[in-house]
């Protein structure tokens, strides 16, 4: 019987034990005469062992529940419990998207009108609109609604105060059922502004927008603006402009706004 020459594929198969028994002896003989090759193939076998030793423990790991469930049965297309929530979320997102588009369009239009007069004013977005846009952008975010969370409130306060150049801190709204989630720094018309976010037990979110940009306005009482689905109470107090935004009804929002105003006034 003529012997076929050994190929690299044969050597690989020898490493993996996939070589027909009839050829194994040939490889053994080949390697016996070539220490370099023998060393190379034994390194490959060592790789196999090392890989198994390293990755085999993963086989005994507890399987994540989501994967185990998904492996056992197909994902249910219509989950009667989850579906409405998902739909609600998507509707909210669509609404938010529409609102941003509308507000952007409105701001553009207003800017267009004012551009003839005063370029500086034309670029200013009014406080309640800025606040409403920031609210619809960040409040629907499930995983990352804020930059710094409430469990690092000290750092949040220190950071925002430093960036705004004046002390700012989130009012405590626990008595009204709203708990601080955290806050973030945002770009305003000309510089940094701050946003604090709260939620109640039902997950309803509320944001307080704090701006130090509106230096020309004199103090105002409460004003109310409705920007699409978002209600906004806003007021100017000294060098601060505040706007409280949420998709809750006007009466409830007024109650919270009053509490915020009182706290900021007496701090």
């Amino acid at each position: 019987m003529t012997k076929l020459p050994l190929s690299e594929a044969d050597l690989q198969a020898w490493v993996d034990g996939q070589l027909p028994e009839s050829r194994r002896a040939e490889v053994d003989a080949y390697l016996a005469a070539r220490p370099g090759e023998a060393e190379r193939l034994s390194a490959y076998r060592a790789q196999r062992d090392a890989l198994r030793q390293h990755f085999d423990p993963l086989l005994d790991e507890t399987l994540p529940a989501r994967l185990r469930q998904l492996a056992e049965k197909p994902p249910i297309a219509v989950d009667p419990q989850k579906r409405p929530l998902l739909e609600r979320w998507s509707l909210q997102r669509i609404a938010a998207g529409l609102l941003i588009a509308l507000l952007g369009g409105a701001a553009g239009w207003l800017g267009h009108g004012q551009y003839q007069g005063d370029e500086r004013v034309a670029q200013m977005t009014p406080l309640p609109r800025q606040a409403a846009i920031a609210h619809v952008v960040y409040s629907p975010d499930v995983r990352r609604p804020v930059e710094v969370t409430a469990d690092q409130e000290d750092q949040l306060v220190k950071w925002l105060s430093k960036r705004l150049g004046t002390p700012v801190s989130p009012p405590k709204l626990g008595a009204l059922g709203y708990e601080l989630i955290g806050g973030r720094l945002l770009p305003g018309n000309t510089g940094p502004v701050a946003q604090f976010m709260y939620h109640d037990g039902s997950g309803q979110r509320l944001t307080l927008y704090v701006s130090t940009e509106d230096t020309v306005s004199r103090d105002t009482g409460f004003r109310f603006a409705k920007e699409g689905p978002v209600n906004v109470f806003y007021w100017v107090d000294g060098k601060f402009g505040y706007a409280l935004s949420a998709g809750i009804d006007k009466g409830e929002l007024a109650r919270v706004a009053t509490a915020v105003y009182d706290q900021l006034e007496h701090k």
Binding site: A9, Q47, L58, P64, L67, L70, E72
Partner: protein, 166 residues
């Protein structure tokens, strides 16, 4: 399909995904995508055929899709094309595992084949079937992957599989 059949393969799918993509969360995401796609195509699975190879094939295709979706246009450079700079290796001893970091330096196509053969114990035909490539290609990727891994582990630092941004 027996509802336990896929579950039986789940630990192996996870192990392979982790060895392939290294990052734990990304690996489990890949497994999840694989399971979802498997269920959506369960009608295409022929009862009695190799379920494991079918699942690994789905995972492979998903991974290929992922890799084809980079933010930049990239062109793979072959080892022989250029003398590419050797990456800094000073920090390598800080790596969690030399083996994992060495493995991560293999081109993905070589890593995949090597893992299916060495870790999953698939025959060359099974690998070819799962990946949808000829057995000859399996053999050449396996040989090149093993040799490169050997050189990396021995510290010979073969040139790295860099990609050039077009």
């Amino acid at each position: 399909m027996d509802s336990g059949a896929i579950l039986t393969e789940l630990p192996r799918l996870r192990r392979y995904a982790r060895a392939l993509v290294r990052d734990r969360a990304a690996a489990d995401d890949l497994v999840q995508d694989t399971l979802e796609r498997a269920w959506s195509r369960v009608a295409q699975w022929r009862p009695g055929s190799d379920l494991r190879a079918w699942l690994f094939g789905i995972m492979h295709n998903l991974r290929v899709d992922q890799l084809r979706r980079p933010g930049l246009n990239t062109v793979p450079i072959d080892d022989e094309d250029l003398a590419v700079p050797i990456r800094a290796t000073q920090g390598d001893r800080l790596e969690l595992s030399d083996l994992e970091s060495a493995l991560a330096r293999l081109p993905e196509e070589q890593r995949g084949v090597l893992l299916l053969v060495a870790l999953e114990d698939m025959t060359y035909d099974q690998v070819a079937g799962a990946l949808g490539i000829p057995v000859g290609t399996v053999m050449s990727r396996l040989a090149r992957g093993r040799e490169r891994l050997r050189l990396i582990l021995e510290g010979s630092s073969p040139s790295v599989n860099l990609r050039v941004v077009r």
